[in-house]
């Protein structure tokens, strides 16, 4: 049937199945219905076009047009009558795309199903649906359609940090194989029986139609099983991300409705896992890159939990504007910004503030805690306006140490004592050791001396690609490897060992390491800046934007925000937390390494490790990518060499196994004939030595010497093969003249040579002479892919196949 509705249906279903794992990336599956609608539309138009015998171009154009119109209606892109698009279309599309891209950049999977993200996914899947329909049904190449299907599948694979469940791949593979089978059994049915039962001499039984389908079925099952089984055998290379995509997490947990607040015993896990796209806060600001919004500050850490929000409980007085807050030291230049929030869902007494608040306009009583800079309100305000300061420290201010400050009389608040330097006893040894090594390695080559350099080094270590962001923590490792009785590691040590976690772990580790170096540090809880909507010029913060980051006390600056959580989730670090070439730093031979761009946390960089021996530099040369490349090159070379080597081995064995002179001549001739075949001088099978000589004589492009050599060779073959052996046993004494390849004919008194070496020389000469008359591609192919080698390899392959499928067949 020309329209082939079954193929079309299967193709559409295959696209849907390929898109199925996208459900792991999104919180709500709002993309499914639009996708199904467009798939149906594409399929129906495909069937219609084929039944009406439209050209493929017309069918595809109709499918694309229909899909675009459907997208227009599904996403309300048109402002015209009947929802038809008007000139506002580009704006709407660009808004959606921007929103989608921002969602991708800001969320770990599963991400909230923002209209923009859903739009992007549906557009992508629709485009591939048209391609799959074109390849699989219109152009009758369902096997080729595997590529677009695989691309759709890979979108999900590369964006989930953890392994996809097997079912996604298995179902896709089966549906795709069904698509191929549906097409090919249709094709096979059209074959005549004569074509299938072609006679092959010496091959035995004729081959029936059923054998093809049986073999195909077995091959398909084996292929799927192999593909599923191979992943357990293949080496697990650490994941590297070229660009930040949807983060890396596995499961989704639905967030609770209602106001958001952070309890004093801080557990960000719940908020981070809250994947609802319900806004917590919508705000506008004149800051080009708004900072995260702080809600609570915590200093005490015990048994894997932060506690002790030091914010004063509400009982609130007005802010004393004249007092220099503890947050930012005197003399540090600040930038004043405006901030106005609406739709605030953060419950009182907490309030999300972007920085050091100078002035506030809140419809409630409020107060700023001078120690932490946190603002508290008497009741939850829907809207509020703030004026706040962002520090803009100079390098010199950043480099000020506690000793410098004390020497020059800069007043220091009481931060160098108490719980701001307290370490978690369980993790202290590992934290101290790691921090010492990091600090010794420094940022720009030399060991870090100032608190700022130390903090930078620690931050750089945590942001390096050794750590991966995941909402799933690695299972606790045993405290002593090989001794399960010793218990498991504490959370911080476990994180530093397994290097997998989310912002809480990153921030906590940085704080503990800083404290181990005598630098006061504390944890701030709040929200990431949220996603920007160009249409309203506002930022939307959702519950999933919950974040935690450390603040480090620098003597010259005050409490300073750092960002140890890898980008993609946290955004970039604040400007001052990006290392620059400071005058105090050790001169570095590579200026580029000191430039801010080169030090972007996303760039793969090697942080100082336990030992900076030559082994590390050697290991640095063998990055996984290079190893894979090297392995691929070696594999290709091995594959290239496999066939010629096999052929050479077969020929050598053939020569060695020849017992009599006749057999040696036969072996030489067989080899020569194979080589001639490979050089494009194949001859029909049923030619006798004489007719073969005639055949070669008629081949164009051969020179006279080659033809003579071949004729002499063939005369020898004919004699040893058919003449009475007595003649071979007693070669006449006058035979050497016949070995001259230029001698036209062995005369009756002058038998052909049977000396194996002479025959071999003659064969080699003929081969090289003939090869010289052939084109380079032919010679290359003959050298790299000799048929003999291919045959032996394919026979071996079939043997393995038969051995593997024997149990299946018996069943």
């Amino acid at each position: 049937m020309r329209a082939r509705p079954l193929d079309t249906l299967l193709a559409g279903f295959a696209v849907l199945v390929a898109a199925w794992p996208l459900s792991t990336l999104l919180v709500r599956q709002t993309w499914v219905m639009p996708t199904i609608a467009i798939l149906l539309l594409v399929g129906v138009i495909g069937v219609l076009g084929r039944s009406q015998r439209w050209p493929a171009v017309v069918t595809v154009a109709a499918q694309v047009l229909a899909a675009l119109l459907a997208l227009n209606w599904l996403f309300h892109l048109g402002d015209g009558p009947y929802g038809l698009p008007t000139w506002t279309l580009p704006t709407h599309v660009s808004d959606l795309v921007t929103q989608g891209l921002r969602t991708m950049a800001n969320y770990a999977a599963p991400a909230p199903a923002t209209p923009g993200l859903v739009f992007l996914l549906v557009v992508m899947v629709s485009a591939f649906a048209v391609v799959v329909d074109l390849l699989a049904v219109e152009l009758r190449s369902p096997a080729l359609a595997g590529f677009p299907l695989l691309i759709i599948f890979m979108i999900s694979v590369v964006n989930t940090g953890d392994a996809l469940p097997v079912r996604y791949f298995a179902v896709l593979a089966i549906v795709w194989l069904l698509l191929v089978a549906q097409h090919n059994t249709g094709q096979l049915g059209h074959w005549g029986n004569t074509a299938v039962r072609r006679y092959e001499p010496g091959r035995g039984d004729a081959v029936g139609l059923g054998r093809f389908t049986d073999r195909a079925r077995v091959a398909a099952v084996v292929a799927v099983l192999l593909a599923l089984g191979a992943q357990s055998v293949l080496p697990d290379v650490p994941t590297r991300f070229l660009i930040p995509g949807l983060g890396r997490a596995d499961s989704a947990a639905q967030g609770a409705r209602g106001p958001i607040s952070f309890s004093s015993s801080v557990d960000l896990d719940r908020s981070l896992r809250d994947r609802s796209d319900r806004p917590v806060l919508i705000y506008k600001t004149n800051a080009p890159q708004p900072p995260p919004l702080a809600v609570a500050v915590s200093t005490g850490y015990e048994n894997g939990r932060w506690f002790g929000d030091r914010a004063t409980p509400p009982g609130l007085d007005d802010l004393d504007r004249g007092q220099q807050p503890q947050g930012i030291a005197e003399g540090v230049r600040t930038v004043v910004r405006q901030f106005s929030a609406a739709g605030n869902q953060v419950s009182s007494p907490q309030l999300a503030v972007p920085g050091d608040v100078v002035q506030a306009d809140v419809d409630a009583r409020w107060r700023k805690d001078e120690v932490t800079g946190i603002v508290r309100v008497s009741r939850q305000a829907q809207t509020y306006r703030l004026i706040y300061r962002e520090p803009a420290p100079t390098p010199a201010q950043l480099a000020v140490t506690r000793a410098d400050a004390e020497r020059s009389g800069i007043p220091l608040p009481d931060v160098y004592g108490g719980d701001l330097l307290e370490l978690d006893p369980a993790s202290a040894p590992l934290v101290r050791r790691t921090a010492d090594e990091i600090v010794a390695g420094g940022v720009n080559g030399g060991p870090a001396t100032t608190a700022y350099d130390k903090a930078l080094a620690i931050q750089q270590y945590l942001r390096s690609n050794r750590f991966s962001y995941s909402l799933t923590l690695a299972p606790p490792q045993p405290r002593e490897p090989g001794n399960p009785g010793a218990g498991t590691l504490d959370p911080i040590s476990n994180f530093l060992t397994t290097r997998q976690g989310y912002c809480t772990q990153f921030a906590t580790s940085m704080i503990m390491m800083a404290r181990s170096q005598g630098i006061p540090a504390r944890l701030v809880l709040g929200f990431l800046p949220g996603s920007y909507s160009p249409r309203t010029a506002s930022y939307t913060v959702v519950a999933g934007d919950a974040h935690a980051w450390p603040e480090i006390y620098l003597a010259g600056v005050g409490w300073t925000r750092f960002e140890p959580t890898p980008s993609g989730r946290s955004g970039t670090a604040p400007g001052w937390a990006v290392p620059t070439a400071t005058p105090t730093a050790t001169p570095t031979p590579t200026p580029t390494a000191a430039s801010p761009r080169a030090q972007q946390p996303t760039a793969p960089q090697e942080a100082p490790t336990t030992s900076t021996s030559t082994w590390d530099s050697v290991r640095g040369l063998f990055t996984p990518m290079r190893l894979i490349l090297l392995g691929s090159v070696l594999a290709v070379l091995a594959l290239l060499a496999l066939t010629p080597v096999t052929a050479a081995l077969v020929r050598r064995r053939r020569r060695e196994q020849a017992r009599s002179e006749a057999e040696r001549v036969e072996a030489q001739w067989l080899t020569l004939r194979e080589q001639l075949d490979d050089l494009g001088l194949g001859a029909p099978a049923g030619l006798t030595p004489r007719t073969l000589a005639d055949h070669y004589r008629s081949v164009p492009g051969l020179d006279a010497a080659s033809r003579d050599g071949l004729a002499t060779m063939l005369a020898t073959v004919e004699r040893v093969r058919y003449a009475p052996t007595r003649a071979v046993d007693h070669p006449s004494a006058t035979e050497p003249s016949a070995t001259d390849p230029n001698a036209t004919v062995p005369s009756r008194t002058d038998p052909s040579p049977t000396d194996p070496h002479k025959v071999a020389d003659q064969a080699d000469e003929v081969r090289s002479r003939v090869a010289r008359t052939r084109s380079l591609p032919v010679r290359l192919r003959a050298a790299l892919l000799p048929t003999t080698g291919l045959q032996v390899l394919s026979r071996a392959g079939w043997k393995v196949y038969d051995a593997l499928t024997d149990p299946l067949r018996r069943r």
Binding site: P201, E666, P684, G686
Partner: protein, 333 residues
């Protein structure tokens, strides 16, 4: 450049093969060709069958020289020739002979039939009754006649040339496959070319063409020649090739009946005679290929069905696609 003939290697003549065997055979061919004009291939095949000690089946329309071929063969070899015109009422005893009671000697006396000759022409053999046919075919196979407890050997050489008319099949008894198998080769002369026909009219129009034909050998020499053909060397590779061809004919779906083992035997025998004719003491695959068509064609039955090919085409295709094996056992090219 070398020609196929010069490729031949004379590795010494075995004692059994007369030194001038090739020359004698060539003379016979030449003599017969002077009578049957424009048909050197067919004449050559007929001589090969004669030398190989087989029998010949001529299938052709009337008047193309079937009988003339047989007669000229006999005359050129200086042997006796008899002709039997087969009819439905021809009796077996007409062929083999009959024992008659002699009143004077008071004993049965054997009167030899037509079969006691060197060359027997069985004209339109398919018109004889099956009983008569089988008597003739038995004599062909046994080369002797048994009657009343006595065995009478037939003269050597003994060649039966049976002719069949492929048209006018009504009222005939076509030879069963088993009996066709006993003929070494089947040839059909076909119409001569225009030039050959003209030449025939010019030279033979006024006189008996056989009159100018003189014997180039005699029965004794011919019998020795036939015996020496058996001494021709057939290498394992050549024997293998015969077997491969026969097996291929059994495996192809284009044929309902393939070649029998006897066909293989006779093919090799014919190839040996062909080798002698070419002046060699050993069989080449070229000999086998040359004889494959006449030796195999009448033994095979096409599969039939629409679009089926003639047996000749199938045999040519088999020869074309069946690889010429090397002597080495195991898979070969």
């Amino acid at each position: 450049m070398d020609s196929p003939q010069t490729l031949a290697h004379d590795g010494g003549t075995p004692p059994a093969l007369a030194p001038d065997a090739a020359a004698v055979a060539a003379r016979i061919v030449e003599a017969v060709c002077s009578v049957i004009e424009g048909k050197p291939e067919e004449v050559r095949t007929a001589v090969v069958v004669l030398l190989a000690g087989g029998h010949l089946l001529l299938e052709d329309v009337p008047g193309v020289g079937k009988t003339m071929l047989a007669k000229s063969l006999a005359k050129a070899t200086g042997t006796t020739v008899r002709r039997v015109q087969c009819t439905p009422d021809l009796l077996p005893s007409d062929i083999t002979g009959v024992s008659i009671f002699n009143q004077q000697t008071q004993a049965f006396e054997f009167r030899p039939g037509a079969v006691f000759t060197n060359v027997l022409i069985g004209d339109e053999i398919n018109r004889a009754s099956p009983k008569t046919q089988s008597a003739l075919l038995e004599a062909m196979e046994e080369r002797q006649v048994s009657s009343d407890g006595h065995t009478y050997p037939l003269p050597r050489p003994f060649l039966v040339v049976a002719t069949q008319n492929p048209i006018e099949m009504e009222g005939t008894y076509p030879l069963p496959e088993a009996q066709r198998d006993r003929f070494m080769a089947r040839i059909s002369l076909g119409y001569p070319t225009a030039d050959a026909e003209l030449a025939m009219l010019a030279s033979h129009g006024d006189s008996d063409p056989l009159a100018g034909l003189t014997a180039v050998t005699d029965a004794a020499e011919l019998a020795a020649l036939i015996a020496s053909v058996r001494a021709v060397h057939a290498s394992p590779a050549a024997q293998r090739y015969v077997v491969e061809l026969c097996r291929a004919s059994r495996q192809t779906t284009a044929l309902r009946l393939g070649a029998s083992p006897r066909a293989g035997l006779q093919l090799l025998q014919a190839a040996k005679a062909e080798a002698v004719l070419a002046g060699r003491d050993h069989v080449l695959p070229d000999d086998i290929q040359a004889m494959a068509l006449p030796v195999l064609v009448h033994r095979l039955i096409p599969a039939g069905g629409p679009g089926h090919r003639g047996v000749e085409d199938v045999v040519r295709e088999l020869v074309r696609v069946t690889p010429v094996p090397s002597a080495a056992p195991g898979p070969s090219r």
